[in-house]
Homo-oligomer: 401 residues x 2
């Protein structure tokens, strides 16, 4: 039996080799970028007017006093080629997003101006004193310079990255392809969702839960159900293994007389990397890799165990990250747990006034309790090395809502 | 000009009437449930064996001492109809997930047992003393009883809800349908993503950002770009308004001479519910509703403003929630801001050892700075009523990663 830390390390060390595909920009959201993105031009690419108003030449004027009156020469709209102001002491009306006119360096916004007309000529009257040039101009290259690295490959793509890639003209981009994943439930007690179970049967739920959770990682899984007949199980799993990169099984890995999965995996050439993790729930978790590099997660079948193992191990495996982001939450009630196992406690969480995440343990009947997961926001991870977990102390937290 | 709180209240008061559709279970993930889900049976539906081992009748035996030897009568596998133990002092081998045999009430797991064979008969030898009945049995109805309400309509569906609905046999379920949404960028300075911009032009990025962000709310938006010609703009917007439930515009709402959107909306019978919010960025934000109940968000076109307005107003509008969940983060550096505006500061965040979210303001060049959004996890909301924001104080936080 290995520790939780060791199990996670082994899972993350065995991530699949990258398969790269090129997708239209809008299909890239949520995926992992597989190329570096560089600035094709400066950000912004020209001295850009940042407010509607007038542009003036402060280098020439030096100082503007309240009441100063400036002749309006012309208007520079957004999307127009750059115009030039000919009189150094004049001004140009300018619109947000426009290129700053040649021979101007400063923008005064409409809110600080009045307008007047004298002998058919239009003037702007300035209502605030001004002595520094450059205000309300978004200067060329101030945010990023041309050719600089904007987004590193390996970044998870969110709407901000989509906006940047649009700006630099990436109508297609390279991303990591989703692997082919099969989700397989086992267990003779399970019937399908549209069937009426006998008294001793239940409908299967784990494979639907896993498929829904995988879809949040951008993976469309194939679903299978196999009964506990070792010969059929082996034959079907051989075929499923050949057609997929990753298998996620639920059930059939514990100490029961029909828990055939570990033996069958060995028969199929899938090498066990570990079996049993010192954790509760999810102790019988089995993990292996075939000689062709295919990965098998065999998760214990109790819903609480399947849930925990998915969010603790499987989701980080697919995220492609080498390390998880640290998340913590504060335990709201003292817990005693004397077994030498890492205890994952289902909790509901809230953010307090001091911005700390407070985790309240949920009463439950063990890993078979599916209903508790409805009100559960995630699991608090209480280390195996301790037995008393004090109220007010913070622990690692895995959220799934 | 209205306050941020008032603006959000008006937005959330004008949510669209529900359109309900029925979808296959796996398509429901991430959507809002539009029916109540009840338990069709008890949870669990029978006294369920929770560990592989033996079942005994503790009501009859009263006490088990270390070394006690029990005759194994039979095996109860998962998925088999219930068997009956005939001898009160015997035991039955039982597998996890099986129905507990008739005439038994307690399970002892394999880890606490040895086995022996005497004269062709198999016996289990118990290694731990035991005096209470009921252990390792997941009792019928302990988690939920039949007919009880499991999931309330209006709940956002996550993998836990999917698992519950599978268990109660909901292969289809009712959810709120995604509205028809058009995303429209305006501005003569914008060219399309695959074009080569002239020196005074930039590629459009807001509409791609908005489309990506909407897809995370389960909405597939239609994208349009319109130039700043008032007549064409009005004609096209009339058609787009007729074909969609919600319009999200970016650009054209400020004080510029080509900011035609507010006037055109009035011409099209879209009543202004507010224009201008006392916030930075995003002050010129315009919001309205047509006589047919169609909703128009006209967001300022600077990327920082568009981003903020989307996550602060548009996303909560589509989430269908009447109230946002409180999220807070701790400001890491003192900020002065003397204008009477709510300041939304782009921040990067991390969770500290005490489980508090620490927000560090990001240096940026204003709402035109698109590149800053790459390293930004969200916005910290600093209220308009104050001017000095102390390091170590916590404030409302809007995250978007």
């Amino acid at each position: 039996m290995i520790s939780v830390e060791e199990a996670l390390r082994i899972v993350l060390e065995n991530q699949l080799p990258d398969q790269i595909i090129e997708v239209p920009l809008l299909e890239a959201n949520g995926k992992v970028l597989a190329e570096n993105i560089f600035a094709d031009r400066d950000f912004p690419p020209f001295n850009r007017v940042a407010m509607d108003g007038i542009a003036i030449n402060m280098s020439f004027l030096s100082v503007i006093s309240e009441g100063d009156k400036l002749l309006i020469e012309n208007i520079q709209f957004a999307g127009e080629p750059q115009k030039t102001m000919s009189g150094n002491g004049n001004c140009m009306e300018v619109m947000t997003g426009a290129i700053l006119p040649e021979n101007t360096d400063t923008v005064i916004r409409y809110e600080d101006l009045d307008f007047t007309e004298i002998e058919g000529r239009k003037y702007a009257i300035v209502n605030i004193p001004l002595s520094e040039p450059g205000q309300n101009v978004h200067h060329q290259g101030i945010d990023k310079s041309a050719q600089s690295l904007l987004i590193q490959q390996g970044t998870k793509i969110s709407p901000a990255e989509i906006a940047i890639m649009a700006t630099v003209g990436k109508d297609y981009c390279k991303v990591k392809a989703a692997p082919a994943v099969a989700v397989i439930s086992t267990g003779d007690e399970l019937v399908d969702i549209h069937e009426n179970p006998e008294n001793h049967q239940i409908r299967r739920s784990n494979s639907y839960m896993l498929a829904a959770a995988l879809s949040e990682s951008g993976i469309k899984a194939r679903l299978y159900h196999l009964n506990d007949d070792p010969e059929k199980l082996e034959n079907r799993l051989r075929i499923i293994l050949a057609a997929n990169d990753v298998l996620i099984l639920s059930g059939g890995v514990s100490a029961g007389k029909k828990d055939f999965v570990p033996q069958i995996m060995e028969n199929l050439g899938v090498k066990k990397l570990f079996h049993k993790v010192s954790q509760k729930p999810g102790k019988p978790f089995w993990f292996g890799k075939s000689e062709y590099g295919k990965i098998v997660f065999a998760l214990p079948g109790n819903p609480g165990s399947t849930f925990l193992c998915f969010y603790k191990y499987v989701k980080p495996f697919f995220s492609g990250l080498k390390q998880e982001t640290l998340k913590k939450a504060v335990l709201s009630d003292k817990i005693f747990f004397r077994q030498e196992l890492t205890l994952f406690v289902p909790v509901t969480t809230r953010c307090n006034e001091e911005a700390a995440l407070i985790a309240t343990p949920l009463k439950n009947s063990g890993s078979g309790d599916l209903a508790v997961l409805l009100s559960c926001d995630g699991f608090l991870e209480l280390p195996a090395s301790e037995a008393i977990f004090e109220e007010g102390k913070s622990f690692s937290y895995i959220n799934f809502k």
